[in-house]
């Protein structure tokens, strides 16, 4: 039997915990680790396991539901939805271009080479099947 995927958060990270949960789950969803139809633990279960407030987990699940990844209908199990890939308009492309630019600037400032950054970006983009 295949082990269920796991989520890891860092309480010392400056990113809020609900955002960490969203980012981690979104990565698993985009990579296809969590397939449509797969069920996720309840808000209560995940909050107890991570030791964070129920609202933190509920907020993260709502964000992903708003993005179209999860079905969180009341009284039902939280499941992964089949999501149609949205077409990115110019504004969206510009937003991500700006974010990438900032990230790459940080990487360069930390001493990483152009070729290394390029290789990593290509490898990550190829590894993700959305």
């Amino acid at each position: 039997m295949q082990d269920a995927p796991e989520i890891v958060i860092d309480l010392n990270d400056s990113t809020p915990v609900n955002r960490q949960i969203v980012d981690y789950l979104r990565a698993l969803l985009v990579e296809g680790v969590l397939q449509p139809g797969a069920a996720l633990p309840s808000v209560r279960r995940l909050a107890i396991d991570l030791g964070v407030h129920f609202n933190t987990v509920a907020d993260a699940y709502h964000t992903l539901a708003d993005e179209g990844w999860l079905d969180i209908s009341h009284g039902r199990r939280i499941t992964v939805r089949k999501r149609r890939r949205p077409s990115a308009d110019d504004a969206t492309q510009n937003t991500f271009r700006q974010r990438l630019r900032q990230l790459i600037a940080e990487m360069r400032a930390a001493g990483l080479s152009e070729s290394w950054i390029s290789r990593e970006l290509t490898s990550i983009a190829k590894g993700i099947q959305s």
């Binding site: 796991e6 309480l11 279960r45 396991d49 991570l50 030791g51």
Partner: protein
């Protein structure tokens, strides 16, 4: 020496041994309820608190044993209670002292938290079979009902150490079915506790102890269920005593039942201890500051109702959670109702 004194001395000895080894049963990343490096307990500053703790335990136990022997000789009735009180008080003091010695070596609990994304519904091992202990008690009640006329009007319900009855019950509803009802309450309490562990305690939490926590949960649940099964046998045997105690002497079954219970529980307790001693138990991910006196967990920001104990084996309530107080209230209510009835 009276048999009762001998029994009390054996109990005192068993408790002393338990207290001697109890610190070793905690997670490797905890020492006297303080978060430390996993190998801290094997270092000289780690061994020193254990040494002092054990010294105090054995000194207190020796004094308590002398009190028991003196009470046997001079007949001081309050001495046995005082002896056990002394041992308990000194154990609490020894633990607090050892904890103070460990505190300077405390480290922050791991900031990384991990959880499984499995949504599978856990259940008690054995499923519906866990209702059988209650069914055994119901069967005993039906047997008593069918043999109501054979039950003496007055029958012994407690015996002293010489096997002579020192308390009696009458053939009434509560007199006959009382032990069965107590058994049902205890079994329901145990099954509720098991349910609480499954649904109200973390399956994982820290990255360094995820697998161990799973094994510990399973071992704890098996021990609980074994307790429910053996209690059902014990209370069924006790409830049938009025049909056996024809000559009012203590029937053999009453002596054998508690021993049988211990024999049934021993392998499950051993398994729990073995898991407790395993490497890879890491830490529990709870802050040291939330552990009052190192034993009472009070953390309103933790949604868990039950967490693993920091001293000893098993689970303890999170007193910072309102559900815990609701459970305590229900237990007190059940106890009060039982007393009134």
């Amino acid at each position: 020496m009276r048999p009762s004194t001998l029994f009390l001395l054996c109990t005192l000895g068993a408790l002393t041994l338990l207290l001697h080894y109890l610190p070793l049963f905690s997670r490797r990343g905890l020492w006297f309820a303080i978060t430390v490096e996993p190998d801290f307990r094997d270092t000289p500053p780690g061994r020193r608190p254990l040494h002092y703790y054990r010294l105090m335990i054995w000194a207190a136990s020796l004094i308590a044993a002398m009190m028991l022997v003196a009470s046997d000789r001079f007949g001081a009735d309050a001495a046995p209670a005082l002896a056990f009180l002394l041992q308990t008080g000194c154990a609490i003091g020894a633990f607090a002292w050892a904890r103070r010695l460990v505190r300077p070596y405390a480290i922050a609990p791991p900031a990384k938290r991990m959880a499984s994304l499995s949504s599978s519904q856990e259940g008690l091992p054995g499923g519906f079979l866990n209702l059988l202990p209650v069914a055994v008690l119901v069967a005993a009640a039906l047997y008593l009902r069918a043999n109501w006329e054979r039950i003496p009007d007055r029958f012994p319900k407690h015996w002293n150490f010489d096997g002579v009855p020192d308390a009696w019950a009458e053939r009434t509803f509560w007199g006959v079915y009382g032990p069965l009802l107590t058994g049902v309450l205890l079994i329901v309490f145990i099954l509720t506790l098991g349910y609480g562990i499954i649904h109200g305690s973390p399956r994982t939490r820290t990255v360094d102890s995820a697998k161990w926590t799973g094994r510990f949960r399973r071992a704890s649940l098996r021990l609980l269920l074994a307790a429910a099964w053996s209690l059902s046998g014990l209370f069924a045997a006790i409830s049938l005593l009025p049909l056996m105690a024809a000559d009012s002497r203590l029937p053999n079954v009453a002596i054998l039942a508690p021993f049988a219970m211990l024999v049934i529980l021993a392998p499950f307790a051993y398994q729990l201890v073995r898991v407790g001693l395993e490497a890879g138990s890491g830490t529990d991910g709870t802050p040291d500051s939330a552990w009052k006196l190192g034993q009472i967990y009070f953390n309103p920001s933790d949604p868990a109702i039950l967490v693993t104990k920091r001293f000893g084996l098993g689970y303890t309530l999170n007193f910072g959670n309102r559900v815990s107080w609701f459970v305590i209230g229900l237990l007190l209510l059940a106890f009060a109702v039982a007393q009134i009835i």
